[in-house]
Subunit: 414 residues, 2 copies
């Protein structure tokens, strides 16, 4: 038997809830997605609870679960995954944080959590990276910009802990938080002090920065502070190869996903045009997927845009990004022979446009390929998936199913 | 966004099995339940395993799970829940038992486990409460009647254990049991001795009681002994508020449910007419539900009658009690705006009339309210729920789903 392959496409934030002002339809029901529909019709279709019914997951724990790693066992915070995904070589003693460039007023009240979704943050990031903190002996900081307004902060030194609270208040109009120790350890106190000093210094450095003067002159929001959240250390994951006997590749524009793949020993393939933003290049992604599938037998493909549209509460954009993701599905189905190989499609969580945030709903999951019964579903959606032929599974169940279908599962028992 | 509310209606013993002498229909299929059907049509419908598939649950563990508390982690026997629900302030060192007034012959063989479903047991209970046991130093007894033939016994003192066997043989025609230590602890032995002395003394006190002379003269079954079962200590539950960020109220005529709510920090609202029997006042319950929903955002509403009909093996009564529960659903739907709020309906277990006892079947579950996809099911039943749009969930999954829908779930991960 030839080596069967599996592609897993994770469409971030795909699922939604019916909208009263759109005929009680969801964006999936509204979108024209002939390729997804075709895949669903001939394959296994069901609902997937990323973690468990009703549990509202962050993308980190959800994608961990989709890759077969139980977050209750392995999760050590998001920051380290972001930092590794941004190309920083982390040490096991480092603590890393997700960061946003943001706009605060003189009272440290947040005017814009994303500093007008600033695009060219690398020069600002350079200035922030040069910050030296002195208040916590033996701790230095590393800062790097990732996508748009996002970046990562690494605290490097001894006796650090991820158990510190977020500075980012996650809501505009509120004052920024003060990092506090979540547990009573000396390490958490040291870390909180280092974070607070860094945030203060970032404001001092950024408010004077010429690029911000320029932004102000152009009437743009200034990126005058860095807000931290999601402190994390490197998780200890058994390798993906050891768990599922698959040679994995990952194609994503999102730092956290790339970091997760790296830690799992899945090769990250950088694709020009895969930006992790609304304007990602789907054809480049499809080609890279096909290219990398030549010497890999598992490809994790991640599309970020529908989640962004959901967070923005933009119904039209969500429909459009789903239709664009559908063209990606079409490109891949054409090139990867799904009479021989498997194409699996799901999401890490719902990001309903009416809520602008993740919810705990189950998400549709499709498993297409040889030797699976056809669902005969005509249109893939949250509702039709609920009556599919796969039933209701959990995130951590998906990789074992895929592994078994491609013929690489180990016998349990004898 | 306004504070969304959720009502959870638990219809005790609702589910059943198809009956050959009723056209292979279940009582749910036979009953005329237009309000439940309407709720089901527009909402999420599925099957719920109270504990896990095939596990036959008591009402205590099942309702614990429905409230989001995993019984494998928190269950410490039923007796303490009954005692607390009956208004006894329990100490953590107390051991409490469910009790029945029963009829035994001179050989201690059980003629009627419910002493003819005696209604006025409070005078008998007073006599039993005055019993002093002397055989186990430092242990005293407290006894209180609850509903019909039911009551609770509390053993108060040092070195007691809930690990003792039941005196109630749970079947008529059998001799009563002797309480025995289930484990090898000194505490269990002491407790068993105290229970046995109490049961013996209850027989001595009751057989001479004037009220029983009167019952005998009227041709009624005498309540000449108290039988114990379900020893328990107060469970240590994290508060419902801390788990689900909801301000809860509970309306039930059943002592165990009230006890469970009390231990979880859910306010018990006593409703005149909510009797926990076949003749409960559904309109009073509906009004109380609506009244209490004004300053609470979660209301647990419990209807006992269908379970009693199931235990009695009375098909007609079960159909009738389901139809009465349906009128309760109707009253609430009218008053609580389910365009804004959630109304959830399920059961703690099946009590099939052909079996007269709980079985391990899954039960229907309905979640109605805004932003959920419509099941389009026309008639709610065990069979239609099995093909619903919610799939098959477990008891402990329900509260996280409800919490997420009302917008109070915490993000897991980041």
């Amino acid at each position: 038997m030839a080596d069967k392959r599996a592609v897993l496409l994770v469409i971030d934030g795909m699922a939604d809830r019916p909208l009263i002002d759109h005929d009680y339809k969801t964006p999936m029901e509204y979108a024209n997605t002939p390729n997804m529909d075709r895949l669903a019709k001939g394959g296994l279709v069901g609902l997937l609870d990323p973690i468990a019914p009703g549990v509202r997951p962050g993308s980190d724990v959800a994608n961990m679960a989709l890759l077969g790693y139980d977050p209750s066992k392995y999760y050590t915070g998001r920051g380290a995954l972001e930092a590794i995904g941004a190309g920083i070589e982390l040490r096991t003693t480092d603590v890393a944080f997700r960061c946003n460039f943001a706009t605060v007023d003189n009272d440290f009240r947040v005017e814009d959590r994303r500093a007008g979704r600033i695009r060219k943050a690398s020069k600002l990031a350079k200035a922030v990276d040069e910050i030296k903190i002195g208040g916590v002996p033996g701790v230095k900081t590393i800062f790097k910009a990732t996508v748009e307004h996002r970046g990562v902060l690494v605290l490097r030194g001894e006796k650090l802990s991820r158990m510190v609270s977020d500075v980012d208040p996650k809501e505009e109009g509120l004052k920024i938080g003060i990092a506090k120790a979540i547990d009573s350890s000396e390490e958490a106190k040291r870390t909180a002090a280092a974070v607070n000093e860094f945030v203060k210094r970032s404001h001092e450095v950024l408010r004077e920065h010429p690029l911000n003067q320029e932004r102000a002159n152009n009437g743009e929001k200034v990126a005058n502070i860095v807000l931290t959240r999601g402190g994390g250390t490197v998780p200890t994951l058994p390798s993906f190869k050891s768990m599922f006997d698959l040679r994995g590749a990952c194609i994503s524009g999102t730092a956290m996903i790339k970091g997760l793949a790296t830690v799992a020993g899945i090769e990250v393939i950088d694709v020009k045009g895969a930006s992790g933003s609304l304007k990602t290049d789907y054809e480049a992604k499809a080609k890279a997927t096909i290219e990398s599938s030549k010497d890999k037998n598992f490809i994790l493909l991640h599309v970020k845009a529908p989640d962004i549209a959901g967070h923005d509460g933009d119904f039209k954009a969500k429909v459009r990004t789903l239709e664009e993701a559908d063209t990606l599905v079409g490109h891949i189905i054409e090139e990867v022979d799904i009479g021989m190989n498997y194409f699996d499609l799901t999401s890490d969580h719902a990001t309903p446009v009416a809520y602008g945030t993740h919810t705990g709903d189950p998400v549709p999951v499709v498993i297409g390929g040889p030797d699976v019964p056809a669902s005969r579903i005509l249109k893939l959606s949250e509702s039709t998936a609920a009556r599919g032929n796969l039933g209701r599974i959990r995130g951590v169940n998906l990789m074992p199913i895929i592994t078994d279908l491609v013929g690489r599962s180990r016998l349990y028992g004898s």
